[in-house]
Amino acid sequence: MELAIGIILGCCALGAGMAMIAGIGPGIGEGNAVAKACEAIGRQPESKSSVTSTMIMGCAIAETTGLYALVIAILLIFVAPNMLVDILKTAVGA
């Protein structure tokens, strides 16, 4: 029983860590997008307002992927272990 609970906790922690790998992509993408937008502002300073506005919206959208990963990781660390251990205990009848 202890071994099964240990495996569940270990797998949840491993899953949470792997979920956070998804946080790398948005960071790189966001950096590239902002760099290119700043380049565009440098070429056409008069369009600063519209480019900045679009850039902020684009960043907010790109960042959601990272947030999904974060939320999955939080759920795997704090919510899933209790639920899975309860299911295991019910199944075993302990």
């Binding site: 900045t52 902020i56 919206m57």
Partner: protein, 138 residues
Amino acid sequence: MKKIDRIVLRETLFVAAGSALLSILMNAVFLVIGKWDLTVLFGTLLGYAASVLNFFLMGITVQNSVGKEEKTIKTTVRFSMVFRELLMLGIAVAAYFLKGVFNIIPLLIAYFFPRIVVMFRPKFKLKGEDNDPGENNG
């Protein structure tokens, strides 16, 4: 300290207003399904504050990036994102350990409100957008 750009303020206010509306809607849903209590309200408020703060900090990062070198911008934005994600994680962890005060589920749902509000952003024309010189110079 650098002055906050009016574009950043405008967009943050829009996101804050939209997120507030969605927070009220979420609490109404919790009330209808009979799961509402004060912890849900506090969780929603904390999640709302964290998500709007996250959006505002992102706007500040973007504002400060203008005029810098490409490599510096990339590094700054990545660092900013890591910092903001850690902030969100820290808030969620704190809420988990204060179970009696905050409900973590509405808090996590509230993290996604800015994304939903941004989806509807092109349908709205905000005050001050008409005076954008860039719109007419194309």
